[in-house]
């Protein structure tokens, strides 16, 4: 059984604000889902290594200039929720106090 406090902790880790009723509802749903997905534990995985290596591997390339500098700047800046000139404005991270 997943407790409400546990769900609250997970929501905190995921940075999602949730009201009490939502935590409660989610707790029940999670219990159901987790119980269902636990079926994987019935499979006999002894033939598979603990960390199976996927077939697809990361592909490396030489460093280079992918595109002309600045061609995306305007469109990216236009998507900023808050800005000052071409700078993205965010809340202060360090407290000076």
């Amino acid at each position: 059984m997943i407790s409400k406090e546990e769900v609250g902790k997970l929501a905190g880790l995921a940075r999602i604000q949730m009201a009490d009723e939502e935590l409660e509802a989610l707790r029940g749903e999670l219990d159901q889902i987790v119980e269902f997905v636990s079926q994987v534990q019935k499979a006999d995985v002894s033939s598979v290594p603990e960390l199976p290596m996927p077939e697809h591997r990361n592909v490396w390339r030489e460093d280079g200039i992918p595109h002309e500098t600045g061609v995306y700047t305007d469109s990216i800046v236009a998507n900023f929720p808050d800005k000052k000139g071409d700078y993205l404005r965010v809340k202060k991270i360090l407290d000076n106090k």
Binding site: I16, I33, E50, N79
Partner: protein, 481 residues
């Protein structure tokens, strides 16, 4: 100009008609836009329709008049799911958290279609971040099934399926993680292709589950699916998981066998709609009548597909969705400090299903539970892959029903339990888990409440063997004798 028969139109026919001067690209685009105007308010298939579609079509007509070389899709009107970027157009992933976000570049698949002179009509509805099987999880309201508007079109690419089935486009792109193209195709009587993992570049897609995600295609004929697939497939330096399967196949010198062998897996049909089981049995008979050799195959571990899928998917989704935090793009909700802004933006930006899956993903990845869930699921995934590898040593393709039932009513499964909706993927998720390809083709219909609801037959082939899916699919729907 006589009225264009959109119902039975295919890419080949449209290209021939435009080439022959029966109608122009502008006429064709206008015919679709007229349909959008009259039908979209009810169906909510499109979230946005492009103002410049007519201009784009006119440009194609001018090119044609001047005798300039035209692309393979010159003037073909296409719809794009709202998780695929079209430069300059808003992309939201069906979520409030990205409202107002303008795509800064074209996804590779869009760029490839554009290079072939396709005309983009607009952006179609999706379950929020492609999480769902009905589009009921869209923050912008559900889409409806054109065959019966009290029913869902399927999902998550339900907007694309609804648009195509209602003749509001000629072809549509969707995306698949666990059946999001094949299932809505089956619900709407269409052809739906999920290419092999890596076959189509995912550059420019909103990522849901990076080890499953693929671009998929909706069309009215198998040939159209093949035409579009051949254009958008291929290696892309911007997606490191993309593979040039065509080249790979040539080097492997894959010879077609004399007689195509189709495998039928032993499936557990508990809880599956009887009409689906009956329809599938008829398809097995049909396979024999078509001259295929039909044999039974063992896939002992696919019964673990849904549990495996619903561990790996939330785990990856919880990481992939972390980027939507209201800082660099999307909707930012004010707070007293930076942390409060994250928490508020995500708290108000995400709908129910992403919250559920993010929390579930965070849970299965957390210390103490990792081995029991994620670690185990990753190993079971290998077992499922091995099952298919073994099966494809005996047969060229495997057939299965696409869905456990026909299109369901809006507000039924979504209100009951998340698990019930998850089970919609029971026959489709195995192909995503194994990274192989599958196509759903219409396999007849069942009568329900005075409506003929379509069902789909799924043809699954090994990695990079879309050619087999197409060939068998064409035989089943009668495009090839």
């Amino acid at each position: 100009m006589s009225e264009i028969d959109l119902k039975n139109l295919t890419i080949r026919k449209a290209l021939q008609s435009m080439e022959g001067g029966d109608y122009s690209a502008e006429d064709l685009t206008r015919a679709y836009l007229d349909n959008i105007k009259s039908k979209n308010a009810e169906l909510n298939a499109y979230l946005r329709v492009f103002d410049d579609a007519i201009d784009e079509a006119r440009k194609i007509d001018e090119k044609r008049k001047k005798g300039e070389k035209l692309g393979k899709l010159a003037g073909i009107p296409i719809a794009i799911k709202d998780v695929i970027m079209v430069k300059g157009s808003e992309i939201t992933g069906g979520s409030k958290i990205l409202k107002g976000h303008i795509a800064t570049y074209d996804a590779t698949c869009v760029a490839k279609l554009r290079a072939e002179d396709a005309v983009f009509l607009g952006i179609t509805n999706t379950d929020e971040f492609a999480m769902g099987s009905s589009t009921e999880n869209s923050a912008y309201g559900p889409s409806k099934n054109p065959i019966d508007s009290s029913r869902v079109p399927g999902g998550s690419s339900g907007g694309s399926a609804s648009a195509l089935a209602a003749d509001m486009c000629l072809v549509a792109l969707g995306t698949e993680t666990g059946g999001s193209v094949r299932q809505p195709a089956a619900f709407c009587g269409l052809v739906g292709l999920k290419p092999s993992y890596g076959a189509v570049s995912r550059y420019g897609l909103l990522a849901l589950c990076s080890s499953f995600d693929q671009v998929g295609i909706f069309s009215k004929s198998v040939e159209d699916s093949q035409t579009v697939f051949d254009i958008i497939a291929g290696e892309d330096s911007l997606d490191s998981t993309s593979v040039d399967y065509n080249a790979k196949r040539k080097t492997q010198n894959a010879k077609p066998k004399n007689k195509t062998k189709i495998g039928v897996p032993k499936l557990d049909f508990t809880g599956i709609d009887k009409r689906v089981v009956e329809n599938f049995e008829n398809q097995i008979k049909k396979a024999k009548e078509l001259g295929f050799e039909v044999v039974e195959v063992e896939l002992p571990n696919i019964k673990y597909s849904i549990p495996t899928y619903y561990i790996i998917l939330p785990a990856e989704a919880s990481a992939n969705l972390a980027r939507y935090d209201g800082i660099r793009y999307g909707a930012r909700v004010e707070g007293d400090n930076l942390l409060a802004e994250y928490v508020n933006s995500k708290g108000q930006g995400y709908g129910k299903e992403p919250r559920r899956r993010i929390i579930l993903g965070t849970y299965v990845l957390s210390a103490g539970y990792y081995d029991a869930y994620y670690g185990t699921a990753m190993r079971v995934r290998e077992l499922i892959k091995n099952d298919f590898d073994n099966a494809f040593k005996q047969v060229d393709a495997i057939i299965m029903p696409t869905t456990p039932g026909p299109a369901f009513k809006l507000g039924t499964k979504s209100l009951r339990s998340p698990l019930e909706m998850y089970l919609e993927d029971i026959f489709t998720a195995p192909a995503n888990i194994a990274g192989i390809c599958g196509v759903s083709v219409p396999s007849g219909s069942v009568e329900d409440g005075g409506k003929e609801l379509p069902l789909g037959l799924q043809i699954i082939a090994d990695k990079g063997r879309e050619d087999i899916c197409f060939e068998i699919g064409k035989r089943f729907v009668g495009e090839l004798q």
